[in-house]
Symmetry: C2
Subunit: 432 residues, 2 copies
Amino acid sequence: MNALSSQPYKGTRDYYPADKRVQNYIFSVWHKVSRSFGYEEYGAPILEPLEVYAAKSGQELVNEQTYTFTDRGDRTVAIRPEMTPTISRMVAARRQELAYPARLYSIANFMRYERPQRGREREFWQLNVDMFGADTIAAEAEIITIADGIMKEFGAKPQDYVIRINNRKLINFVMTQYLQLNADKVQPMVKLFDRKDKISHQEFVDQASEIFGDQAADGIARIEALLGAKTIEDLPQEVLASDALGEIKQLFDLLAQAGVNNMTFDVTLMRGLDYYTGTVFEVYDTHPDNNRSLFGGGRYDGLVGMFGVEPISAVGMAPGGTMLENFLDVHGLLLQSRSTTDVYVAIVGDTMQAANQVASDLRKNGINAEMDLAGGKVDKQIKTAIKKAIPYVLFVGEEEVKTGVYTIKNITKAIEYKRDFAGLIELIKEQL
Amino acid sequence: MNALSSQPYKGTRDYYPADKRVQNYIFSVWHKVSRSFGYEEYGAPILEPLEVYAAKSGQELVNEQTYTFTDRGDRTVAIRPEMTPTISRMVAARRQELAYPARLYSIANFMRYERPQRGREREFWQLNVDMFGADTIAAEAEIITIADGIMKEFGAKPQDYVIRINNRKLINFVMTQYLQLNADKVQPMVKLFDRKDKISHQEFVDQASEIFGDQAADGIARIEALLGAKTIEDLPQEVLASDALGEIKQLFDLLAQAGVNNMTFDVTLMRGLDYYTGTVFEVYDTHPDNNRSLFGGGRYDGLVGMFGVEPISAVGMAPGGTMLENFLDVHGLLLQSRSTTDVYVAIVGDTMQAANQVASDLRKNGINAEMDLAGGKVDKQIKTAIKKAIPYVLFVGEEEVKTGVYTIKNITKAIEYKRDFAGLIELIKEQL
């Protein structure tokens, strides 16, 4: 038999303990901030019927990026590419029983068949934070305050990121009223706005002209006037007539009250997914080496209603793990991590049984302890502890067993201490 | 458009917050006990090439139970039905860099296409605990001690479960030497032993006779002598000649030293997976309403070598979440859980902004607080808090804002307190 490959499936990642610690740190911040705002964790299946995504997630996602297949019972299913349709389904199923506003979050894995690149993997982990049943702008304000709270909890400074905000109602107004585009031209123009930062200005103008057709000259002039606006007040007079502006202004006021300062209005922000109906936002990294959207969210009032119940309003967001890991990396916010194991019990001589007892006693005192089983050389055991990033090595030799006084080495500080067992526990708990 | 179903995919489960809290409790015990023995967490992709399972996981699992499909790049992949081949692959990929013994654990989801029934779901969650690079029986003893430690941490008493132990080398000796079966008859007989508790004694004898063919009378007599043995010493003289008995005896001694008392030798224990090479064990529930195998494990020294590197010895186990939830349920070990949210901030009158500030201040003090956004009736807000199992309701009315003295209600105890903000923090931290 030929040897099997030891590489992970293309575009996915093996998380060895050092990598997993970084991921766990990111997860711990997500849990902490989400819970602090009263969001409760839920879990959901990794498979859904494909049709759940077909309706509202957008053509590209469904037709090109899903992992779709037919199961042994002839059902067409997909590995979830996102959580929003699933949590909407779950809320629909318990529409009567839930208490509102329902505040829900999850941390889960997803798959999309995309070209793997920096910050984008075929399997990725996301936090999803969603509020159901609150149709005031206070809901959007809370979700964006949580986004901001997560960034601050990671140690990010206001200048490290910016929160761009727009509104689908304003986008619709701009497309149909201000740019006077017919229904069939709205979608191409929305996609073009979405790509704006990824192409040159000339490419943008050329492609926009193509969409406008006969009215290109006037249309481009209108777009230039629109894109020139850096604040809401700067917008062209005709755009200021949109009802959506009231929502945007109210959102900015509520965010300012909540202590969120680095948000900006961005009329070009579109967000790819089809289901958004109101506010949309994205958190952008301002670092020159990672100048990109980190994550986003928005209001999607139509999704729960797809599952055969009265619609329920909804606002949510979904930060991704690898994207945030890159952010922490370029901003120098990832600290050196150590093993979850506190003590490596080294066996010096024929003391396996005594060492086992010491390790067991350490565990009873809440200290994570592993020990050598091969009974190798002491030098080698110390190297093993260092390789595993375990902070302490405790030596159990015949002398120690006789006297009850142990030598323990703090690897990081390179200091040795001699203590009896009670003293050991005290020392470790004090220093960790 | 027809409404979409709001039910989860067949055989999978939606974990609403109350269900997720139970799962999180089980996960927290898994994390705590695994880490206490110095095991470090890793993560792995949900997809693997199908061939990873084809080699050693057994025909039934691969041909009937995997979720297999061809991806958009024409690769034949499977949603992982188990973790052992994956972690073996990961160890093979870093064979040189890892420190040994490598102690590794993960908590992850898996899928198998099986008939859904009590304790068995198509998507399920498992802890996997594995040690690589230790080929002494001390490794098996440690893994089984962790299994026992998990049961104890859940509050299980020794009489609530029993740990059954056998050894593949002994099974091989029994099949080929003691029962004198030809190579082609070993596998059917192993499968029959595995099913022994699920069929009647007569069915067992009939099917065994069929496998023996001509030698049925002598064969059945030998099996009866074998099955009569309740301890190692009781085994038929010819079986006592097996080398494996030394391993089994040593394992029992080490377990007794480690304080594991409720293990028993079971010569009929087979374990379904093909890759086991030595010790196998299972933790059985003794409760009459749930009398079944909860989880198991064993030694599998051949798996890492499949990935083109020198073999590394390995021992591991994999408890499942739902199985343990059923165990906790029938033994009355599942406690009533409350929300992760500590305080529901109720708005009395036109105090939204002040309430927001109070909620924000609670969070800064490490207290998880949510608040109403709709500004509904106070009675309704209290009901919402009760429905969500939030232990405290804090009322923010105009009087409270003016005086700085708040009323807080402990829902469980049905007691109201009046405190200033500092007093509130003190009260909540003291009681939670």
